[in-house]
């Protein structure tokens, strides 16, 4: 008696299994299996922390003791340190956007022109800085921009009779260092975006401009730039977002401890308050404000460049 029941159980098991496997194999179910990793990662690594960040921003988070404190974290944000972080980050965003759009456009136009020899060599070389990590870039910049008169950059300034600069100790020169570091690392990548965009500019427009007797500058401003508009929008958007996320470019110069907070950024402030001071609720509030700022600035920027208008 007993053995037969067990085979029967086995039989139903196998039919169940094959049913299940046929279900999992079907064309309808397969795509859901394929996208499962994304759904899991979205829920666990995006949605949960997102909601948690907003909740935490209304809490005082101490080890083993969490209390709801309403808007207090946000009220605490009205302090000179946060203003300084916000100001530094904003200045950084403005300069990196200007530099990382203007220079790459011009360089890309030349790199696309037959006038220039060894184009591939130049393209590849300008891309190399993008391969360095920000820490290595920081090591390099710190010794090039050393304070003493024997550091490379001060040596060069000395050659023109300019006295050595205390690079890491002034707010203007400190900002200069951060902007330079970012520009150096990202210029090659942006050049490639614009080069890709230039491949889509139609030759006919240039021919028409030629017939109208336009010179090189007129062609650049009335044909090349308008045609590159979508790429300019894209590059400026990612540069703005990356600018607001900035942390490492400051960390490599001052280890999050700059004189007079000249290198303090918003993300640096999150790190300082949330991690170093272990005040997670306050850190989360800074993050929420940062998110709102990025959102508003992106919308304004897209409106300003006319990305919402239908051409």
């Amino acid at each position: 008696m007993e053995p037969s029941t067990s085979t029967q159980v086995n039989k139903t098991k196998t039919t169940q299994q094959s049913k299940l496997s046929r279900f999992l194999m079907s064309k309808k179910v397969a795509p859901y299996i394929f996208v499962t990793p994304f759904i899991v990662s979205f829920l666990l690594l995006f949605l949960y922390p997102m909601i948690q960040a907003i909740i935490m921003s209304f809490q005082q988070v101490l080890p083993g003791q969490v209390t709801f404190i309403g808007m207090q974290n946000y009220e605490r944000l009205l302090n000179p340190e946060f203003y300084r972080a916000l100001l530094n980050t904003s200045i950084y965003v403005v300069f990196t956007v200007l530099i990382l759009v203007a220079f790459p456009v011009v360089l890309a136009v030349f790199l696309n022109s037959k006038l220039l020899k060894f184009r591939n060599l130049f393209r590849a070389s300008l891309f190399v800085p993008a391969l360095t990590s920000v820490i290595v870039a920081g090591v390099i910049f710190r010794m090039m921009f050393g304070e003493s008169e024997t550091a490379v950059i001060n040596e060069m300034l000395g050659f023109f009779g300019i006295s050595p600069v205390d690079w890491r100790y002034g707010s203007v020169s400190g900002m200069f260092l951060m902007v330079m570091l970012a520009s150096w690392r990202w210029i090659g990548v942006n050049i490639l975006y614009f080069l890709a965009g230039l491949q889509n500019v139609s030759e006919e427009l240039y021919e028409a401009a030629d017939i109208d007797g336009a010179n090189a500058f007129q062609k650049f401003f009335s044909v090349t730039l308008p045609s590159l508009k979508p790429v300019i929008i894209f590059v400026s958007t990612i540069t703005i977002i990356n600018g607001f996320r900035m942390f490492e470019e400051s960390f490599v110069f001052w280890q999050n401890n700059s004189p007079g907070n000249i290198g303090l950024t918003v993300v640096g402030y999150i790190y300082q308050e949330g991690i170093s001071q272990n005040d997670m609720g306050f850190g989360a509030a800074i993050g929420v404000v940062l998110m709102i700022i990025i959102f508003v600035v992106s919308i304004l920027q897209l409106k300003f460049v006319g990305a919402f208008k239908e051409d």
Binding site: S125, S133, G287
Partner: protein, 280 residues
Amino acid sequence: MTTKKNKWISVAVTIVFAVITLTALFPIISLVIASLRPASGLMREGLSLLFDPSTLTFSNYFSIFSESGQQYWRWYLNSLLISGMLIVLSLFFSSMVGYALAMYQFKGRNILFVLVLFILMIPFEILMLPLYQLMITINLINSYFAVMLPLIVAPIAVFFFRQYCLGLPKELMESARIDGCTEYGIFFRIMAPLMGPSFAAMAILQGLTSWNNFLWPLLVLRSSDMFTLPIGLSTLMTPYGNNYELLFSGSVLTIIPIIILFLFFQKFFISGLTVGGVKG
């Protein structure tokens, strides 16, 4: 006349670009020179270019192979392992997702794709504190897995794979089904091999992102034997450091392999790194 004029312009432009390129490469050249100079004064006094060439020395590199260099190789190993595992995991999962979003019609597909784009717009730094808390709660702090986790299903890679898959021949799927191939067999045996270039580009993007990743590993890695290269090197940057030999020679050995890989696989590097302007 005009061709002669053009020729002069061409020479002038090329010279200008040679200068620009040299300026761009100058920091990297400086690093290599610095690594050959006595390290003790470099961080404090900066690199001077007015030096006696006969004072160049390999002694910084000897320190890497001495006892004090052991932790450096440990960091190197950590970075290699983390980047290697991340490339395998993220290519596997992200390609599956991107493939499904491109090749199948199913309920929820458009919402999922919008979510991918939405995540792309949200800075990781905002989610970082709750995620850090989560890592503490589930006891993953100071592990390789914690470092890799946020990058495993990278939206940027999902997006890239989806775009790439849109160009794949759908007829192949039909004929494979008729031959009795399962949906998974179609992906792994027929379609994935056709996605070679996209795998190469994403391997480079994810590898480089992980190799240079800084803020997240800085949060979750606690002990020196778990550090990755950027974290380890940054600990050597303190003003009171006595290990600058390691810092300079170590920095060179961190970027030289990447530059060599770049020279061989330029095409894939470029398509990988320009996909969304990701921050390294």
